[in-house]
Each structure stands twice: as C-alpha cells, then as structure tokens.
C-alpha cells in the first residue's frame, strides 16, 4: 500500500446510482471507496443523499462530522474542514452530507465547484447517489465520468436501473456536450443468490445483462457479512474473509481496468462463472 498518489493523472468522478432504493448504493460506495484506497488511490466518497445522511455511519465516522457538503457549497466551511479522514485507510476520505437540510440545498454550480476542487487533490471521487431520479440523484450523476449502476436481480430494480441508464445517456454534462462522449456505465449486481437464481426465483445474470446491455463490473453475493459490516461501520471490502468483501475487491480491480475473472463466490468457487453457467445449461 502506497500513500502517494498513484499513476492516475486525471482524477475520475464515479457515481454510484440505481434509481431504486435499498439495493446497496451506500454499501457499495463505501466498499468501492475503501477498495480504491486500499489499492493506493487517494479517494473521497461524497454523500449526495441530503437529509438522509447514511454514508458516514456505514463508514464509521458519524461522530466526527462537524461540517458537511452543504456547508461547503454554501461557503460556511472550507472543504478541508468538512473532509473526514478515515482512521483505517490512509488514502480514504469522506465528505458527509447534512441531515437537517433537504436536496434543494444542492446547486449545480456549488456541486461543480466542490468537485473541481476535489479533482485537484484526489484520484477517485465516488459520489453516493440518493435513490430516485430527482434533484439529488441528478446532481450526483451530472458531473460523473463513470457510473456504477447498482442493481438487484429482480424486475423492478432492473427496470429502474434501465431508467437511470437513460438519464446517464442524456442528462449529464458529458452527454450534453453532444460530441458523442458518454458516461461509462457498468453494472454491479448486488444481493445475488446463486441457488435462488438457479431455481428461477431470482433473475439470472444473463437476464439482467440482456435487459441493461452494459458491461458487468461485478457480482456481489448476498451475505450476512454485509449487514454486520454496516452495523459496525466498516466498509465490507475491508472484511477480507467474506465472499462479499472479496467480490467488491474484484469489482474495484475491474473498475481500475484490470482483467479479473468473474466469480459468484470468490474464494469458494474456483471454476469460472461462465463455465459453470455453461455446465448447468448443457
């Protein structure tokens, strides 16, 4: 683990979004942020869910929040005062949001100013989007370079993700440039249960991919360690023993451009995921 900024010259803004609530956006934001930091990238995770402040709890720094994102936007505090440095990981920071304000406190210019300032200092800026497609979610995705679309293998979640993908293609700064540039969106399938999917109770990975037609970033298995980690305020990717933690680390590896084989339960199953799928259908 290095503490210097790594080879990344241009910092990347990554939005973690889904449309639907409760699919694991905040858990994934924390896990991806921690994973990037563990790999030596200087990373900040921003909570865009104004009024429903959760990220700081998931990341275990809720008692250290003094100033927040909204204070910075409104000029009441400096960015450095609001950034909370993680106690476990050298390269990880959290920019918490306000619990008392609402989403109208976010302005496009304010968000842009904060992101521009963060771009100078950080390799990765992870934006934890609120659920829905209203102001908070819109501003979380607006300045993004990449998107991680968090989806559960069930129809309503997939449909909402499809809606969000449409917005990523039309209502972002990159899309509005009109020169063909687009936010690079990848799918993170969470709460996946191999057995229930095999029995037809849950949608299969192929079903989801066929509908959404975007690259697969990772499959996070349904795991008791996720809830436990949330309650303890530890990003689940720090739990190296749990399948979910390993799956998140694999996803982070793919996010930074590494080729990593897709496994449903990393560590437990050594056979390739697609090989097993083929084995099952044959």
């Amino acid at each position: 683990m290095t503490h210097d900024r790594k080879e990344t010259l241009v910092s990347k803004v990554i939005v973690v979004t889904s449309g639907k609530g409760g699919v694991g956006k905040t858990t994934s934001s924390a896990a991806i942020g921690a994973g990037l930091a563990m790999r030596g990238h200087k990373t900040v995770v921003i909570d865009f869910d104004v009024g429903l402040r959760n990220l700081d709890m998931i990341m275990g720094c809720e008692r250290r929040v003094v100033f927040d994102f909204i204070n910075v936007i409104q000029g009441d505090a400096k960015l450095k005062q609001a950034l909370i440095k993680d106690r476990r990981l050298e390269n990880l920071y959290v920019l918490p949001t306000s619990q008392t304000r609402d989403k109208d406190a976010l302005t496009q210019e304010g968000v842009k100013k904060v992101l521009d300032e963060l771009r100078e200092d950080f390799d990765y800026i992870v934006c934890d989007s609120p659920a829905g497609i209203e102001r908070g979610a819109h501003l979380a995705m607006y300045f993004a370079d990449e998107a991680v679309v968090v989806t559960n293998p069930e129809v309503s979640s997939v449909r909402d993700s499809d809606r969000v993908l449409g917005l990523l293609n039309s209502k972002t700064a990159l899309a509005e440039k009109g020169d063909g540039s687009a936010v690079k969106a990848q799918l993170l399938l969470t709460r996946f249960d191999q057995n229930r999917s095999a029995s037809g109770e849950m949608m299969s990975v192929q079903d989801v991919l066929e509908i959404l037609a975007i690259p697969l970033l990772g499959i996070i298995p349904e795991s008791t360690s996720v809830l436990k980690a949330s309650n303890e305020g530890t990003p689940v990717s720090l739990d190296e023993k749990s399948p979910a933690g390993k799956a998140y680390m694999d996803a982070v590896g793919r996010l930074v451009g590494e080729q990593i084989e897709m496994r449903v339960n990393p560590g437990e199953q050594r056979r390739g995921f697609f090989q097993r799928l083929l084995g099952r259908t044959a």
Partner: protein, 252 residues
C-alpha cells in the same frame, strides 16, 4: 425537422435536384354545411379522444357537403381555426369551381379526383386516411423523415419518428415508448410500447426480433400484453392491421 439524423439522408447524389413522384397519406375532413360553433365543438371532442394523434397531420377539407362555403375570407378563417388546433390544412377537395377559386385565394390548393374511392373507403366515422395524388402540395420541402436509433431505448424514454419509419438497433426497454408515423423496426427485444402509423397510416407495421411488448398499436388500434394471448409468436414477428384486427405473425 424533429427526426434528426436520418439514414435516408445518406443516399449519395451529386445532382442539384431530383424530381420524383410521391404518394402520401392525408386526412380528409368532411364538412356538412358551413363550419359553425357546433362543428368546432364536435371537432374538439373528436380531437380530445385521441390527443396528439392528429397533431400536425396533413389535412384536406372536403367541400362536397358545404356548397355555400365559397368565399376566400371564410376559408382563411376556417384554415386558421384548424391550424390553431394543430391540423395542417393544405388543400380542399370535391369543391365547385367557385370554391376552387376561393381556395386558391386563401392559399389552399384544390385537389382533383379521389372522391369516388374515398367515399367508399370512408365507411366509419372519423379519420380514415385517403390517398392524395401528386402533384405534392406546396408546404414543406419533402425531407427524408426516417429516424434511426443505434442505442437501446431505455425505460422512461420516448423516441418519435414524426414523418417516417423508426429503426431501433437495440432493444426497447420496459416502460419505454417508440412512436412512428410509419413503420417501426426493432432489431432487438421489444419490452415497452410501440405505436406505428400514429398519423392514421393503417398500412404501417411493427417488426421486432423478440416480442415482449406492453402495448402494440397501429393507426390507433391497440393491444396490450394482457390480451396478446399465450399462443402469440414471440420471436421474429411482424404486427399489422387486417381490417380492424391487429395481427401478430411470425416472420419465419
């Protein structure tokens, strides 16, 4: 033109102009007597039944039953009233010589013929489209009007080909809407809604690789997924109107 980038524009040519025969469909509005308040009320009511359906549709006014309507002023007023309701009036038909002169004065063209066929075909009330022969009317240069989309149409998106066919290279998601004045071709799975021939073209068809639609409509006649039936073909299908029935048929 709303249809944006069009595949048909790529037809290579170096000639400064081309003259081609062209057939298209228009709506004929049959008057019975002079247009009065009752007429406009009835018209409003009809338009409200299918909002957007007639928007900017080319329209000719049939004067056969409106012998008295022969002054340019009246025709100008009628045209203004119809255009205010988003009906694109461009001509009259079945008028007398006096009416034709008045129409010319009012900036409308007088269309010959088509009457006998038209009367037979207009068997039901409303807006059955009628073929109108060339020469084409003056308004709007005929631009290619097909529209091609090369990305999936996502939930919540609407893609509208206002004056031609719509081609989607990709799938149409659940909760998405594809609408065309002409045919709709989907090289992927149709999960959302597809409405072809929305300006009344009953000959429009919908083609798709895989059918899982929420709603299919041609010229206003529709079927929803609930009444498609279990034996409906689902792969490589075409949808077309046969009389008043929306048929779904396998292409293979």
């Amino acid at each position: 033109m709303q249809s944006g980038k069009s595949a048909a524009q790529t037809v290579a040519t170096v000639k400064p102009l081309q003259i081609r025969g062209r057939t298209f469909t228009a709506i004929a509005l049959h008057l019975s007597g002079r247009p009065d308040r009752a007429f406009f009320e009835a018209l409003e009511a009809r338009l409200n039944q299918t909002p957007l359906f007639f928007d900017n549709a080319p329209l000719v006014v049939d004067l056969e039953q409106a012998q008295g309507l022969d002054s340019a002023a009246e025709l100008i007023q009628l045209t203004a009233e119809l255009r205010r309701r988003k009906l694109s009036v461009f001509g009259v038909q079945s008028g007398t010589a006096a009416q034709a002169r008045a129409a010319a004065e009012a900036g409308l063209i007088s269309l010959p013929g088509g009457r006998d066929i038209a009367l037979e075909r207009v068997s039901r009330q409303g807006s059955r489209p009628e073929p109108v022969r060339e020469p084409a009317p003056a308004p709007a240069a005929k631009e290619p009007a097909n529209r091609m989309v090369t990305q999936p149409v996502r939930s919540g998106q609407t893609v509208f080909a206002d004056r031609g066919d719509l081609i989607v290279v990709g799938s149409v998601g659940s909760g998405a809407e594809v609408i065309a004045a002409g045919n709709i071709h989907i090289y992927g799975r149709l999960r959302g809604r597809a409405l072809a021939g929305v300006h009344g073209d009953a000959s429009a068809r919908i083609f798709c690789h895989a059918l899982d639609a929420e709603l299919l409509a041609i010229a206003g006649l529709y079927r929803t997924s609930e009444n498609l039936g279990p034996d409906t073909p689902r792969q490589h299908v075409q949808v077309y109107l046969q009389g008043e029935v929306l048929r779904i048929e396998s292409l293979t």
